[in-house]
Amino acid sequence: MEFSRRSFLTAMGLGTAAAVAGCATTSPSGSSAADPTGPVEGDITFLCALFEGSTGKETLEGNLIKKFNEKYPDVNVTVDYTDYGSLNEKITTGLASGLMPDVVTLGVGWIPPFAFKNAIAPLPESLATRYTYEERVLEPSRYDGKLYALPMVLDTRIVAYRKDFFEEAGLTGTPKNWDELRDYAKQLTVKDGGKTTRVGFDPFSIDLRQCWETFLFGNSGELFSPDGREVLFDSPEGVASLQLFLDMMADGSADFALKTEAGQPTTLQQGTSAIMMTNNSLYVQLQQQTPELTDKIGTFVLGNTDPAMLQGGTMVSQSATTKYPAAARAFVEYMGSPDAVLVASEQRGSVPAISDLKDSDYVKGNPMVAFAIDNLGKARSEGGTPAWMEIREKIKPTLETAIVGQQSAQAAIDQLAGIANDAISRL
């Protein structure tokens, strides 16, 4: 059967009409903040990046949601599980199809972009004082002075070291600034016939973006201005933070090729690094993989001018377009309560966001989590601009161009600043 020109054009026209109609009905922009008054009832969806696997599902649905339903029996919660890496895709496809979840978990740095575009609803300020939070912990939950999310779990980037290697090298104490770090790292590096078998310092086993940010903050640098419209990291502090890694690679005390590979114990555990940047969840990994090293690994917070610990984490927020705002609000409040926060933290080895929980058995039994809580006053977060989702994807590959020697640290930071300025100009 020949497909006539007329029928082809008709099909294209119908398709175009469908596409345009589809675009016109999907975005939440301009919708008013969901009114949380009214009866707490309805079917709500919860996009969750925290509880993974069958154990996580049992914890969330068999325990937490059950307790929630004891108080709010008329709310039916359907959970959409995802992992943190796929959270973006889930949210994007949900928004594009008009199926934004009623309650959603978001990462640190995500609040300004979503709040700027009215995708999430502001929360009452009273929720910020309902429990005790470090002010730094609440910072990423805010945009334009309003609270948009409740922090649940924190994931901090700290420095871990092998006490036995330090002892062998005759080193006492931990480095207090970058000069000392370099000195320690040189002493701790081990080579065998020209080949490095142990680097003094491994900054590359965590995301390069987060590692660089930690050092930027520790060097009194900033990412963006308070209103998120001006790039501040293209400063001498920003360049110096990246240059430090290059200098350490040049003197052999760090190696870009020597980092933790997917699915393997960390370089610290394998003995191929003496000091490394890591996450507080390392303690759980130690207990599972190398319990004999648990007492041999210590932690410290490093800074050049100010000790700084990068604080990532996951927050819970309410959609601005939910049909059941009262139910969604009640669920957000519940997931931000100590019961839910403690359980979520325990199953991931994360830091509970509520300071009241520092005396819990979980925190007392996890030295790295306890360490992170004790140092929350030094915590700094990434993000701070509505253009963050676009900028953050470009940071690692741009910094890597300097790490692999394609360009200087200054050129890489300048390039990144250009990218960030372009993204901000499109707001």
Binding site: A11, T16, S27, A96, E390, Q406
Partner: protein, 316 residues
């Protein structure tokens, strides 16, 4: 007296206009057309809904700043300008071309070789065929995870084997020199199976008498391969080439698992940039423009190949 009338002019009978088909035949023709349309309708609807509409939507959205969080706003050709001037996307285009340039002909060559070997009375042919085809049907994520281990600079199989021969270990996926060749190697390895099957099927359908005649004429096996086999395999080669190029241009999951586009964008591809733009940066309009650019790339390549090969009939 008999009247002799003038002889009648015996001429050809007047032209009779063709009789239109009988109403019964006309109804039968219309019925066949309707039946044909009904049979094609499901596939046509499927193509329209799942391919046609998304393609049109992508084209329309590529002229907007759509970010799924707000209503799309028309911004002309800005997305195309941004994409074509973005050094990272341009790097992705180059990497995609390099990847396709190496994976397609190499995999096709190896696949043809294996197909030729399997097109003989080889024992356990089925076993070899299965072994070669298994990577094609294995989930790419599983393939990539295994290769991550093979490429591990400290504990990986490849460096261990190289070390046995005294060759120094390499940082395969962290090196700007070796990352792309490492990804290409996996792409070739995984893509051989299907190509081999297509070539094998084509080889088994070639006429035997041509070879017999060539043998009688004294043509060697090599001569027969180049003068008979290869030309007769042109339709299959065209099909394998087009599908391989499209597949190479759509390489995504290998990059996602093996290198995340790094180090320093040395292995990023157009598809990976499109994914990042849409799903990580929320720049869906921009991602649509990148997709259209990719589409144009593939269209031009397909047309060029068709022209060079005289289409799938092998005619010039």
């Amino acid at each position: 007296m008999a009247v002799v009338s003038a002889p009648r002019d015996v001429s050809a009978p007047p032209a009779v206009p063709p009789r239109s088909p009988a109403p019964r035949r006309r109804r039968a023709g219309a019925a066949r057309r309707r039946a044909g349309m009904l049979m094609v309708a499901p596939a046509f609807l499927h193509a329209l809904i799942w391919i046609g509409i998304p393609v049109i939507a992508a084209f329309v959205l590529s002229f907007t700043n759509y970010d799924v969080l707000t209503q799309p706003r028309f911004n002309g050709i800005q997305n195309y300008v941004d994409a074509l001037t973005d050094p990272v996307f341009r790097r992705g285009m180059l990497n995609t071309l390099v990847y396709a340039f190496f994976t397609v002909p190499v995999a096709m060559g190896i696949a043809l070789l294996i197909a030729l070997m399997l097109d003989t009375q080889l024992r356990a042919r089925a076993l070899f065929r299965t072994a070669v085809f298994i990577p094609q049907v294995t989930a790419t994520i599983a393939v990539a995870l295994v290769w991550l281990w093979i490429y591990d600079p400290r504990n990986g199989l490849l460096n261990a084997v190289l070390g046995f021969f005294g060759i120094p270990a390499q940082n395969w996926l962290s090196s700007t020199t070796w990352a792309m060749p490492s990804v290409i190697a996996v792409g070739i390895w995984q893509g051989i199976g299907l190509k081999m099957l297509i070539y094998l099927a084509a080889l088994q359908s070639l006429p035997k008498d041509v070879y017999e005649a060539a043998s009688v004429d004294g043509a060697s096996k090599t001569r027969q391969f180049f003068s008979i086999t290869l030309p007769l395999l042109k339709p299959a080669t065209f099909f394998v080439f087009v599908t391989s190029v499209i597949s190479a241009f759509q390489a995504f999951d290998l990059i996602y698992i093996l290198t995340d586009g790094g180090p320093a964008n040395t292995t990023t591809m157009m598809t990976y940039e499109i994914y990042k733009s849409a799903f990580r940066e929320f720049r869906v309009g921009y991602a649509c423009a990148q997709s259209i650019i990719l589409f144009v790339f593939l269209l031009l390549l397909t047309l060029a190949n068709r022209r060079l090969n005289g289409g799938d009939s092998g005619r010039h």
